[in-house]
């Protein structure tokens, strides 16, 4: 399995930040304008907008114009890649640890490596 796909690095970077995870949590409850997203944070609007841009670039939020407001909504499908990534390593290490065991069985007990 591929560990990262095209653009998926952005998803990992996007959810790697606690503020952005909180933003996604807020949007998990429904569509919101920027002012409502910014309200719980002691952060400037431009700073929040920057976080929203990263989330949008990662495909995690979608934005639409409604009158004078820009409304953001959660788009969670890309999160699947993050889950797949961790699940991949569980299989990866199980396989490698078993290979390590086989390798140890082949290695001479004393002296140099083959």
């Amino acid at each position: 399995m591929a560990l990262t796909r095209a653009n998926s690095g952005d998803v990992f970077a996007a959810v790697g930040d606690a503020t952005r995870r909180q933003v996604l949590d807020l949007l998990g409850k429904g569509e919101l304008p920027v002012r409502r997203i910014a309200a719980p944070f002691s952060m400037s609007r431009p700073a929040i907008s920057q976080h929203l841009r990263i989330l949008r670039d990662a495909g995690l939020v979608r934005v639409r114009q409604a009158g004078r407001e820009r409304l953001y909504r959660l788009q969670a499908q890309p999160l699947r890649q993050v889950y797949d990534w961790a699940a991949h390593y569980e299989r990866f290490w199980k396989d490698k640890l078993s290979k390590l065991g086989e390798h140890l069985d082949r290695m001479p007990e004393k002296g140099k490596l083959r």
């Binding site: 399995m1 591929a2 560990l3 990262t4 796909r5 095209a6 998926s8 690095g9 952005d10 990992f12 970077a13 959810v15 790697g16 606690a18 995870r21 996604l24 949590d25 998990g28 409850k29 429904g30 959660l74 788009q75 969670a76 499908q77 890309p78 999160l79 699947r80 993050v82 889950y83 990534w85 961790a86 699940a87 390593y89 569980e90 290490w93 199980k94 490698k96 640890l97 290979k99 390590l100 065991g101 086989e102 390798h103 140890l104 069985d105 290695m107 007990e109 490596l113």
Partner: protein, 154 residues
């Protein structure tokens, strides 16, 4: 340290031999991946695999701890995710107990599980139910949530 993946295996071999298998570049290549590892703190190296579609096959690492024959750690950078791999070796009557930790996932993984699972969770639930839930969930609309307190319990 936050633990994400944890493995505990005992091999019927002496600890020095296991240490060699974990730290000799040729030995590592036999069971893990091609590499330019050196058992020296601060040494930067790569693990290389055959590139796959969407993955260049490269893991960027830096040795962060070497305490022969018991402890070895290195960073494990792949894409934008920065994780850490630690090996702990211990002599036991049956041979060598090896504990492997791959950390750095939890912030993201735990958050996902808390948001996506509708009820309490453990590793079994996470491993068995999460893929099914994700498969069934379109990613549109409200995300099922569980109380914050439950998320912090684990």
């Amino acid at each position: 340290m936050k633990r994400d993946l944890h493995f505990d295996v005992t091999y019927p071999h002496p600890v020095e031999k296991v240490w060699l298998a974990l730290t000799d570049p040729q030995a590592i290549a036999q069971w893990l991946m091609a590499n330019d590892f050196e058992p020296r703190v601060g040494h930067r190296f790569q693990f290389r695999e055959k590139p796959q579609p969407g993955w260049d096959g490269i893991v960027n690492c830096e040795v962060t701890a070497v305490d022969p024959p018991h402890r070895l750690s290195y960073s494990w950078r792949n894409g934008n995710l920065d994780t850490k791999v630690s090996w702990l070796l211990e002599s036991v009557p049956e041979g060598t107990r090896v504990q492997l930790e791959h950390t750095g996932f939890r912030g993201v993984r735990g958050w996902m599980a808390c948001r996506i699972l509708g009820k309490g969770w453990g590793s079994r639930i996470l491993n068995r139910n999460l893929p099914a839930l994700l498969a069934g969930w379109t990613g549109e609309g409200p995300v099922p949530q569980i109380p914050e307190a439950q998320c912090r319990n684990r």
